[in-house]
């Protein structure tokens, strides 16, 4: 396949960025989107140009590192798919494809397609855990968890922290990410003691980190590679209301 990509190039956090067009020739439809950029980068390097910087690691759709907006959609056109799992056969010969970084106030661009997502870690630091000191845990069977709850908690826990939800949100809100974590921990008996403080503290951290407010636009769930449902935001809101009234 021969395609053209228009890629956001930005040398550093404070440099001006712009879209630059590159021809990629003879790419295999079996290549992943990231492998297509690898191939392009090899040519750029040999031609004396700076290769395109982008985040990636597992290339299996699980680490949450890869992050690019493709033709205006976070992670690209295929539903419930990370960029590393998107393959060139989803495009056509001769296509012109736009590639941009996540854009959100809380995710400053570091270089090209690489952004700083450490704000997510700040939200977790504020309460996205269960306080369980090492070495003192009771036998695992001492805390039965109904299968239905365990499965629901698992579904919420599949969030990979990629930030696509933030990139897609017109307000740059991280509500879906935060809601996923709150549901994961709040659906299990172990998570109950800190349930109220968790939601209050995490929402505060979210505001402090510069994420926008949630207006139920729903764009987040459309792009989420793990299919985290919008209903979890409703759950978060009701947890929050309960937490502030009982406080």
């Amino acid at each position: 396949m021969d395609i053209k990509v228009r890629v956001w190039r930005q040398a550093g956090p404070s440099a001006a960025g712009k879209m630059v067009t590159y021809d990629v020739k003879g790419i295999s439809p079996d290549a992943s989107f990231l492998e297509m950029i690898d191939v392009l980068n090899e040519t750029l390097i040999l031609g004396g140009d700076d290769p395109i910087a982008f985040d990636h690691d597992c290339r299996e759709g699980i680490c949450g590192a890869c992050s690019m907006v493709i033709n205006g959609v976070a992670h690209g056109p295929e539903k419930a798919t990370t960029t590393c799992q998107l393959h060139m056969r989803k495009f056509s010969d001769g296509d012109v494809i736009d590639v941009e970084p996540w854009r959100a106030a809380a995710f400053p661009v570091i270089k090209d397609l690489v952004v700083d997502r450490s704000a997510f870690d700040k939200i977790i630091q504020a309460g996205g855990y269960i306080t369980a000191p090492t070495g003192t845990a009771p036998d695992a069977h001492a805390t039965p968890v109904p299968k239905k709850d365990a499965d629901a908690a698992f579904e919420a826990a599949t969030c990979i922290g990629c930030g696509a939800c933030v990139a897609a949100c017109p307000n740059g809100s991280s509500m879906l990410f935060t809601a996923a974590k709150i549901a994961h921990l709040g659906l299990m008996p172990q998570g109950q003691p800190e349930r109220d403080s968790r939601v209050i503290d995490m929402l505060q951290a979210q505001d402090d980190a510069g994420f926008g407010g949630c207006t139920n636009a729903g764009e987040c769930t459309t792009v989420c590679p793990k299919g985290i449902p919008l209903s979890l935001i409703g759950r978060l809101n009701s947890d929050y209301r309960k937490a502030i009234t009982t406080r």
Partner: protein
């Protein structure tokens, strides 16, 4: 050149920290004999932890919780993305929740045997003991393991074991376990007990007065080089499977942290022990950047076959008649069939492909067929069990596995070698501890499934926090400063290397060297090895090394985010490691586990161990880029599980 020209033999190495006496009480006794550090003094002690995977994340969180000051490093943008996140199948623990005869002793026994008698009994016993606490700890943290309707934990059997002792969270066990450790770590970061440095890469170890006292790191965003000091250093930097370029590892996995420590005196043990996983999606073309694992659980219901006649290979699978198919695992290993262990399944696949009966691009693939399972259980049931894996397969290959059989091929998956450590997990450099996949302990030659996760968490949550205090009790150690000679020297080594990479300005990319190295390693030091092939490989690698240092092209500057500069450093270290792996493989004239030496096989082509000659761990000492590595042998003694021959026929 004769083989011995490649290495020299030195004094044996001993595990001085290991207690003797009954294996059941060794860990208890070691913990009791270890010195304690009083809580007020812990605040004065700093520990550097490199790596935030299961091993490093759990270690950093636990040490911080105990009151030590911790500085943590990882190359990803967040500790949550460490490669442990990708583990699929599950984690073993001797809980005996199934009442199927499991016990600490049986897990110990199976693991020593599964390691083909090349691991230490003391370590493995402790691993089995601690496994029980790991599950308790993870459940308390909220890890959403699979449950049964009654609310109790579910288990499955995994990787050739006969008891159901594997705990899992669908196909994402690693992710869920890592999130547990990551959340515990983030809590400590929030409390100010851990200083987290994401996007920071360790590039050198600092040894002062014979003790590990710090590291040199590069801030991967700004390129700034800094020196960081502590009372002890813990490496939890993962495995080195990426030496093969194509592997199931994450792209960033590397050996740099361990290799830099090796060059500074830490012994590197059993480097050639690589685990090859039989069920990966085959390579599709030259663009390929990595291979994807398909969970081994697929072999519970899928049947493996290739055409009997090479001429049938290009034909569509469906058009090949039943009597023209060779279900070779069922044929050769009737009692285990498709469920033979990983090394056997991998080599059998290679053999049929070498005979020219492989399917798919390049003839490097075998079928994993679910047609019978779909007939027997119905499509719905198969979908419920394996749906997400089928979807992943389709995404990558564009083929629908419900209609045509999947194609699989073995791929490099996990490395059992690593820095040599004693029972305390301390390397031969005092104050340098190594945990998780980065060390060599516990797995021997042929790791089973679901034990790497167990080892990572055992080391990080339970073992290291106890043993390191014995070392730290002698601290705080003399203050180290920027101007110490060893510090200046280590920093200069890093700066010089970076400058060298950037100044060569050759005509080949880093990736092209990495691919070439990978091909050499896979061809000659992969599933099957011969004396001749390994000797050839060493020559090829030496030539490649020379070419690398004259022809590599690394664009950009040091003082910026420069992903090619990062890669160049990693590939340079992989090239040196590759040579040592081949030397290690060459010296071990026996087949054991996944390491198959063609010269050492039984009449019917099975691996043949030589316990009388090779019942030791091979720990290598670095002797300069052009010097010969020196082999130190640690004899292995088996008091409880006596070496026996494996048979799966």
């Amino acid at each position: 050149m004769t083989a011995n020209d490649f290495w020299a033999e030195g004094e044996p190495v001993f595990d001085k920290a290991a207690p003797d006496g009954p294996v059941e009480t060794r860990w208890e006794r070691r913990k009791f004999s270890a010195k304690l550090v009083n809580p007020a003094n812990r605040r004065k002690l700093t520990v550097i932890v490199v790596g935030t995977g299961l091993a490093g994340g759990s270690a950093a969180a636990t040490l911080a919780e105990a009151g030590y000051r911790v500085k943590s490093y990882c190359y990803q943008d967040s500790p949550r993305r460490a490669h442990s996140i990708a583990a699929q199948g599950g984690i073993n623990a001797a809980k005996n929740y199934r009442n199927d005869g499991d016990s600490v002793y049986r897990l110990f026994y199976d693991t020593v045997k599964g390691g083909d008698f090349r691991a230490r009994e003391s370590n493995v016993y402790r691993l089995a003991q601690v496994s029980v606490n790991i599950i308790d700890q993870c459940v308390a943290q909220g890890v959403p393991f699979a449950r049964e309707y009654g609310g109790l934990l579910d288990n499955r059997s995994f990787g050739g074991t006969q008891v159901s002792r594997t705990f899992y969270a669908r196909g994402q066990t690693g992710q869920q376990l890592l999130l547990g450790a990551y959340q515990a770590l983030e809590r400590q970061i929030g409390l100010g007990n851990v200083e987290m440095n994401a996007r920071h890469e360790m590039l050198e170890l600092i040894i002062v007065d014979g003790k590990a006292r710090g590291i040199v790191v590069r801030d991967m965003v700004t390129g700034e080089i800094t020196t960081e000091f502590a009372d002890a250093v813990v490496l939890a930097s993962g495995g080195y499977g990426n030496v093969f370029f194509l592997s199931t590892n994450a792209k960033g996995c590397n050996v740099t942290a361990s290799w830099r420590a090796h060059r500074k005196g830490a012994l590197f043990a059993n480097p050639c022990y690589t685990q090859i996983h039989p069920t990966c999606i085959p390579e599709s073309g030259s663009h390929q950047s990595k291979l994807t694992l398909m969970s081994e659980s697929l072999r519970n219901d899928g049947r493996v076959w290739v055409p009997k006649k090479a001429a049938d290979c290009p034909k569509p699978a469906g058009s090949i008649a039943e009597e023209d198919r060779d279900y070779y695992l069922e044929r050769i290993y009737p009692s285990f069939g498709n469920l033979v262990p990983r090394d056997i399944a991998s080599r059998a696949a290679k053999n049929v492909c070498d005979e020219g009966r492989g399917v798919g691009p390049g003839g490097l693939g075998v079928y994993l067929d679910f047609a019978d399972a779909i007939k027997r259980l119905g499509r719905k049931a198969v979908e419920a069990k394996y749906g997400n894996l089928f979807e992943m397969y389709e995404r990558i290959t564009g083929e629908d596995p419900y209609e045509t059989p999947m194609r699989i091929y073995p791929a490099v998956h996990y490395t059992m070698g690593g820095l040599w450590v004693d029972y305390d997990l301390q390397s031969t450099v005092p104050g340098l501890f190594v945990v998780g996949e980065a060390n060599f302990s516990d797995h021997g030659a042929n790791r089973l499934g679901a034990s790497a996760l167990m080892q990572g968490l055992a080391d990080g949550y339970f073992v290291l926090p106890n043993t390191i205090s014995n070392y730290l009790a002698a601290g705080p150690f003399k203050k180290v400063t920027e101007s110490d000679e060893a510090v200046v020297e280590a920093r200069k080594q890093v700066e010089d290397r970076i400058e060298k990479f950037l100044s060569i300005d050759g005509d080949r990319t880093v990736d092209s060297f990495h691919r070439e190295l990978g091909q050499i390693m896979w061809e000659y030091c992969g599933m099957e090895r011969t004396e001749e092939g390994l000797t050839k490989a060493i020559g090829l690698i030496r030539a490649l090394k020379e070419e690398f240092w004259t022809r590599v092209k690394v664009p950009g500057k040091g003082e910026e985010l420069n992903q090619n500069l990062e890669k160049a450093g990693r590939v340079a270290d992989f090239i040196e490691l590759g040579e040592l792996m081949c030397i290690d493989a060459l010296h071990r004239r026996e087949s054991c586990g996944g390491h198959f030496r063609a010269e050492s096989q039984t009449p019917d082509g099975e691996a043949l161990r030589h316990d009388d000659q090779f019942s030791y761990a091979a720990a290598w000492e670095y002797f300069g880029a052009d010097g010969k590595p020196v082999l130190h042998k640690e004899d292995l003694n088996f008091e409880y599980v006596h070496p026996s021959t494996r048979s799966y026929k």
